[in-house]
C-alpha cells in the first residue's frame, strides 16, 4: 500500500495542502463511499422494507447487505446489528432501554473519567433517576484505566460497566477483555464505547465477549448520521424499544402492540438508508486497505510525531505513552484556541477543546488541550507541517510574553 496513492481517494487530500489531523473527530470520506451514497440517491432513492417494486427491493437489499457487512466486520450475527444515528445514540439506546428498565436503587454502574460524554452521561442520567450509584474507576498516574484499579470498584452490586475501548482524548487502549471477564464473573453487563477503536484496529465482539459495543460510521471513512449498536441477541430480544412507530411493529391494536424481533424493533421510521449503504462501502474500503497497514502506518507516524515533539521546549504532552494515533498536548502559556488559530493559518487542522471529556480535563487540571489524531492516509509531511506550526505558534506568542 502506498500512502500517496491512498490520498488520491480523498478529495480534500488530493486537492489541497491541508494537513488533516483531526481524525478522532471525524475521518475524511473516500470516493468509493461517496459513490455508493450517490448510487442510492441517484439510482434508487426509494424507501426500504415496504415497497414491492424492484427499486425498493434493490434499496432494501443494499441496506440489509450493509448490515451483513457490519456483522462480518465485527464477527457477530446479522440480527445483532442495530443501525443507529451514531455511537452516541447507540450508547443512549442501551441506557434508555436496559438501564431504565433493569437498574434499581442501590445498584452500581461503573464508568470512568476517561470517557467521552456519550459513554458516561447516559448512565449518569440512569443513576440519577433510578437512584443507583455511579462509580468511577480510579485512573492511574498516566490517567489510564487499569485492570487492578477496575478490581477496586467492581463489586457484587455492579450491574453495568460502561467503558471506552480507546480513549478519544488520550488514545489509551483499555484492557477491556480482562475487564469484561471480571465483570461477567459478577454478573454485570458490559457496554463498550468503541468509536475510537473500530476505525483503527480489528475488533471481534465474540472474542471480546462484550454484551454491547457501539461505534460511528463517520470516524471510519463512512458517512455522518449512521452508527452501530452491537448487542448479544438475547439482550436485544429482551429489551424494550425506546422509539415507536412505523416499521418496528408486528401487530398493532388499539390498546396493545407486538414488535418485530431485534434489530428491527429498534429501527422505527425510515432509516438513513444511504448512510447504511455508505457504511457498508466504508467497511469494504477499510478491509481493502487492511488493518495491518492501518495499525503500522499510525504507529510509525505516532513514533515520528512524538520524537519530533520531544525535541521542542515549552510543550507539555499529556499522553507520551499513547498507544494509538491520538496525541494530547499544549504549548506552555498559550491557550489551545490561540494555538489552533495559528495552525489554521498554516493549513493544519487539529482539535482544541475539551474533546467531550470534561471530567478528564478536570483530572488533567486543564481547561482544554490540543489534540492531533492520525489516520492511515496521513503522511510524514503532515507531521512536519504540524511541527512547523507548533514552532510558529511558540515564536509568535513569545513576542508578547
Amino acid at each position: 500500500m502506498d500512502v500517496n496513492e491512498i490520498r488520491q481517494d480523498f478529495w480534500v487530500l488530493a486537492n489541497s495542502s491541508l494537513a488533516y489531523l483531526d481524525n478522532a473527530a471525524s475521518s475524511l470520506k473516500p470516493k468509493p463511499v461517496i459513490d455508493m451514497i450517490n448510487h442510492y440517491y441517484r439510482d434508487l432513492g426509494v424507501n426500504i422494507h415496504r415497497g414491492v417494486y424492484r427499486l425498493s427491493y434493490e434499496a432494501t437489499d443494499l441496506y440489509e447487505k450493509a448490515r451483513q457487512k457490519v456483522a462480518d466486520f465485527i464477527n457477530c450475527k446479522f440480527e445483532e446489528v442495530v443501525f443507529t444515528r451514531g455511537a452516541s445514540s447507540a450508547l443512549n439506546l442501551v441506557a434508555s432501554s436496559l438501564g431504565m428498565n433493569e437498574i434499581k436503587a442501590g445498584d452500581e454502574i461503573i464508568t470512568s473519567e476517561l470517557e467521552h460524554h456519550s459513554s458516561m452521561l447516559p448512565w449518569q442520567n440512569v443513576a440519577r433517576i433510578k437512584k443507583a450509584k455511579l462509580v468511577y474507576v480510579p485512573l492511574n498516574e498516566e490517567k489510564k484505566i487499569t485492570v487492578e484499579n477496575f478490581k477496586k470498584v467492581l463489586s457484587d452490586k455492579t450491574k453495568i460497566v460502561a467503558l471506552n475501548y480507546v480513549s478519544n482524548a488520550m488514545g489509551y487502549i483499555t484492557p477491556i477483555k480482562e475487564i469484561i471477564n471480571l465483570a461477567h464473573e459478577k454478573g454485570a453487563i458490559v457496554i463498550v464505547d468503541a468509536a475510537q477503536a473500530v476505525p483503527h484496529q480489528s475488533v471481534d465482539v465474540k472474542a471480546l465477549d462484550c454484551d454491547f459495543l457501539a461505534f460511528s460510521g463517520h470516524k471510519m471513512c463512512g458517512p455522518t448520521g449512521i452508527g452501530v449498536l452491537y448487542g448479544k441477541y438475547e439482550f436485544l430480544q429482551s429489551m424494550e424499544p425506546i422509539e415507536f412507530g412505523g416499521d418496528m411493529i408486528d401487530y398493532v391494536g388499539l390498546q396493545e402492540v407486538t414488535y418485530k424481533d431485534a434489530p428491527y424493533k429498534f429501527e422505527t421510521g425510515t432509516p438513513l438508508i444511504a448512510g447504511a449503504i455508505g457504511l457498508g462501502g466504508a467497511i469494504d474500503y477499510l478491509l481493502n486497505i487492511g488493518f495491518d497497514f492501518i495499525v503500522k502506518q499510525e504507529e510509525e507516524l505516532r513514533t515520528y510525531l512524538l520524537k519530533e515533539m520531544k525535541k521542542l521546549s515549552d510543550i507539555t504532552i499529556y499522553n507520551p505513552t499513547t498507544e494509538t494515533g491520538i496525541i494530547a498536548f499544549n504549548i506552555n502559556g498559550v491557550h489551545p484556541h490561540d494555538a489552533a488559530s495559528v495552525f489554521d493559518e498554516d493549513d493544519v487542522a487539529i482539535r482544541a477543546g475539551h474533546h467531550c471529556a470534561q471530567p478528564l480535563m478536570h483530572c488533567l487540571n486543564q481547561i482544554a488541550t490540543i489534540r492531533a489524531s492520525l489516520y492511515f492516509y496521513n503522511n510524514k509531511a503532515d507531521i512536519d507541517k504540524l511541527i512547523k506550526a507548533i514552532k510558529k505558534a511558540k515564536s509568535f506568542f513569545a513576542q508578547f510574553m
Binding site: H335, P336, H337, D338, A340, S341, V342, D344, E345, A352, G353, H354, M361, I367, A368, K392, S395, F396, F397, Q399, F400, M401
Partner: protein, 150 residues
C-alpha cells in the same frame, strides 16, 4: 518571520490586555448587576458585573478564564464602556458585533481600543471568543431594565 494574518488578529494591544487585564476581579454588593456566560464548546467562561447610576455605567468588573481573544476583549470592553450612558454603550455593542462579523459598521462611533478586534472578521472561528464579553454586557444591560432581577 512574517506571521501574515495573525498580526491583524493578535495586535499588541490585545495581548497587553490579555497579560495585564484591567478591571479584573469581581466585587461583592447588592447594587451590582451580574451575568455569567459560558462557551461550553471551547471552555470560555466569563462573569461580568456593572453598576449603574442615573443611567450611566459607573463600574465594570469581570472575571473568568479563556483564550487571549476572549479575556482581552473583556478587559478592553470594560475600559471602553466605563462612564458611558447605557444607550451609548448599546450602540457600541451593536457596532462592535457588526465589525467583528465583517459587516458594515459605523466608523464614526468611538469604540476606543475595541477597534483593534477588526482583525477577527478574518477568523470566523474566533468570532465567539471576541463577542462573549460584549454579549455579556448586552445581557447585563437587559437585567438593568428589570431592577428586581439584580
Amino acid at each position: 518571520m512574517s506571521y501574515g494574518n495573525l498580526e491583524t488578529l493578535y495586535r499588541q494591544v490585545i495581548m497587553d490586555h490579555y497579560k495585564n487585564p484591567r478591571n479584573k476581579g469581581l466585587k461583592s454588593g447588592e447594587d451590582y448587576y451580574q451575568v455569567h456566560l459560558k462557551n461550553p464548546t471551547c471552555g470560555d467562561d466569563l462573569t461580568l458585573q456593572i453598576k449603574v447610576k442615573n443611567n450611566y455605567i459607573t463600574e465594570v468588573h469581570h472575571d473568568g478564564s479563556g483564550c487571549s481573544i476572549s479575556m482581552s476583549a473583556a478587559s478592553v470592553m470594560s475600559e471602553t464602556i466605563m462612564g458611558l450612558k447605557i444607550e451609548d454603550a448599546k450602540k457600541i455593542i451593536d457596532n462592535y458585533l457588526h465589525m467583528v462579523k465583517g459587516e458594515a459598521y459605523d466608523a464614526e462611533i468611538d469604540m476606543g481600543d475595541a477597534i483593534v478586534y477588526q482583525g477577527v472578521s478574518q477568523f470566523p472561528a474566533r468570532f465567539k471568543c471576541a463577542t462573549i464579553a460584549w454579549n455579556a454586557l448586552d445581557k447585563v444591560l437587559e437585567k438593568h431594565k428589570v431592577p428586581d432581577e439584580k
